[in-house]
Amino acid sequence: MKQSLRATLKRGSFAGIATAGAAALMLSGCGAAPDAGSGGKSASNYTGCIVSDSGGFDDQSFNQSSYDGMKKAEKDLGINFKSAESKSNSDFETNLNGMMSAGCNLTVTVGFLLGDATKKAAADNTDKHFAIIDYSYKDPIANIKPVVYDTAQAAYLAGYVAAATTKTGKVGTFGGIKLPTVTIFMDGFYDGVQAYNKAKSKNVQVIGWDKASQNGSFTGDFEKQDTGKQVTKNLLDQGADIIMPVAGPVGKGAGAALKEAKAAGKDVKLIWVDSDGYLTAPEYKDLMLTSVIKKMDEAVETVVKDDKDGKFTNAAYVGTLANDGVAIAPFHDLDSAVSAETKSAVDALKADIVSGKLVIESKASPKK
């Protein structure tokens, strides 16, 4: 008796699920069929490819921006597009070999970890072209174009703005992992603050990074937002009121900590990196003083376009303030927090950097 009851119940619930499923299918499946024989868009005979490092294309950092650039190239230039995500360092070589047999004309590899693998693939496939993001070789290689950024230039301007805007006389920064592509932000930021101190005879301190010793605060990865929140709280406790996290998505942890501090009545601000945080992290836009932007997507699209047009060179692309490869974002909502004097000073500094009168140096700067 009991058993048959249970069986009935089971059957009943199964029937219920099945009915619900079928109903959902019916509702979703009522569209009209497209005309048979409508061909796809005419395929180009140019194939652009991209191989990520182990961060993957959803890293909210350089893999993602480079991927976006390829996607844009696919749309704008009508090229074929192939991508391969690496899950570990052992995948680099296999992914590149796969790309070679898939007939890629240009393969973009992302990050210094792929340096050796790209070099090997380039030596084995001298008829193919490569571009590597955020890495350059000591000796240039004929069919590899390095794409690097002198991010210190833009970070310098952000550091100046931060020093001019702080109320506590202390600004903070921290990184994800101590890589040259991270510390270059922090070096530039540090120098920008010092430039303000020198110009105005002030003593604004940078917490979280010391350029001379190349030591500072790091969260240890580009994933754990919670660690970013904790580090930011520590920086706030030490008196900083403007924070620049250089840690990809971990920056959101900094945003969360600052939001809490703001809710508690503190006047705090955030400086985003890589993209304009006002647009890409809108949940923190009321905190966003400015952003240090690296325009990787545009660079990737340009490299693809040049190669497609037969204008490939192995000369390094160096993103600078002069060619607009790096920049600082508008102040958006916090425009009123930055004085007109500071704005004109930043413009003057930018002009000096562009003209070469002012050289921002970092151990991590791309070698010319």
Partner: protein
């Protein structure tokens, strides 16, 4: 303390093995065996997983195949592949598009569904086993990728058999890779000697990292899961730190990546044109070695006795503390071979990601292999095939590589729940079967041959 030889309780001949007991009695005996009659907590690793022996001595051959753990593993893989296929299809744009007008032309939807599933698995197969263009060279790639997984998996499996959850393969790999790589790029030695030094350095590193765990467990009772997880962090951040020092970086380069290992310090290629290196043969030899250790040596017998019931083993004269330290040291050494396979085999440089997820995947490999040496070898090859094939799958069909990881995880999920698989396929054994399993477990833990 009596010696093992004078105590009959753990002698294989004296294991409880009556076949006429009722199911309930045998089940009770099984529990009692695991908890030493209720005086102990049940061991962390269930008795049934500690034994690799399927041991249905009285069943027919067919029944043994169908009911055996190995067959359940195969079915688990099959079910996971089917579910994975559904997932692949659901992420496929053609399928999604044709589902939108399912009732107008259902054939489109069905063919898109079938197309998406088969296309992906064909690419997976072509990337891992055989490809018309390249012949069997993808199989060589599978073997290459499997090498570190097999080595580390053996370490995890061995610890499992001794009742220890070794979550520390990751840290052991990192330490051995660090030491091995340093010997490989910083020292310049003659041809054969250099590779030997690299291997010895790495294995000593891994063994030491494992022995620390065994020592802490034996002397202080610290739980090996906590200790190994923490040591993984220590190893990882130690490596990060070292890669930021001049000694481990390339001259003139600020990136945290070591110089390449000397050519004399890496495993020789076995077959030109592939990445397959001598490390694979080392892994096979290690598998045989672990099999011998577990099934033919006194030490291995003691390991299994400790794993089945530490209290009984102690009573029987086994030095449980020494066995714990030794088994963790050997497990660490095996994982160390995995680290060497990475730096001296495939990557040839040391980076922060040198261990990837191998340490954690090796736990899965050991479980999938039912903690037996040969099972681990084949499970490692299966995982290697998934990894190697996944690359082709995403390049050829655009299937996200994450889907492959989902399939792998599903396999583990089904492996971990044999009753689920049995009920899906209507293979649920009756009372008779349960009785036999219990007897088998009792015999096995009493000291199978």
């Amino acid at each position: 303390m009596t010696t093992k030889d004078t105590n009959p309780e753990v002698e294989p001949e004296d294991g409880p093995g009556p076949t006429g007991e009722s199911g309930a009695e045998v089940q009770a005996a099984d529990v009692a065996l695991d908890t030493a009659g209720g005086t102990l907590e049940p061991s962390l690793v269930p008795v049934s997983t500690q034994s690799g022996d399927t041991g249905h001595q009285q069943a027919t051959l067919l029944r043994r195949i169908v009911m055996g753990n190995g067959f359940v593993s195969v079915l688990a893989v099959f079910v996971a592949l089917v579910l994975g296929g559904v997932l692949i299809a659901s992420t496929d744009p053609a399928v999604a598009k044709s589902a939108g007008y399912f009732f107008a032309r259902p054939s489109d939807f069905l063919s898109a569904l079938w197309g998406a599933m088969t296309k992906s698995y064909i690419a997976l197969f072509q990337g891992s086993v055989f490809n018309p263009r390249q012949g069997f060279s993808p199989l060589l790639e599978t073997m290459t990728v499997a090498t570190p997984l097999i080595c580390a998996g053996l370490g995890v499996a061995l610890a499992f058999r001794a009742g220890l959850f070794n979550i520390g393969a990751q840290g052991q790999i990192i330490i051995s890779a660090t030491l091995g790589a340093y010997a490989g790029f910083a020292w310049h030695l003659p041809l054969v000697l250099h590779l030997l030094v690299v291997i010895v350095m790495g294995v000593i590193g891994g063994a030491a990292w494992g022995a620390v765990v065994g020592l802490l467990k034996a002397r202080t009772g610290a739980h090996e899961v906590i200790v190994t997880i923490m040591l993984n962090y220590v190893a990882l951040f130690l490596l990060d730190f070292l890669l930021n020092t001049e000694a481990f970086r390339r001259p003139g380069d600020n990136s945290p990546i070591s110089p390449r290992l000397d050519d004399s310090a890496v495993y020789p290629q076995l077959i030109p044109g592939s990445r397959l290196h001598l490390g694979f043969l080392v892994a096979v030899a290690l598998t045989a070695g672990v099999w011998w250790l577990l099934n033919r040596s006194t030490i291995g017998f003691e390991f299994r006795a400790v794993g089945a019931n530490p209290a009984a083993a102690r009573t029987a004269g086994v030095n449980v503390q020494a066995a714990t330290v030794l088994v963790m040291a050997i497990a660490g050494a095996l994982a160390g071979f995995g680290g060497i396979a990475q730096v001296a085999g495939t990557e040839k440089v040391l980076t922060g990601g040198v261990a990837a997820q191998i340490g954690f995947d090796s736990i899965t490999v050991a479980l999938l292999g039912r903690s037996t040496p040969w099972g681990t070898l084949f499970a490692g090859l299966l995982f290697g095939a998934f990894r190697a094939g996944a690359v082709q799958m995403q390049i050829q069909t655009g299937t996200p590589i994450d889907i492959v990881l989902v399939v792998q995880s599903l396999i583990v999920l089904f492996i971990a729940a044999p009753p689920l698989i049995r009920s899906i396929f209507g293979l649920n054994p009756g009372r008779k079967k349960r009785a036999k399993t219990a007897v088998k477990a009792a015999v096995a833990t009493g000291g199978a041959k």
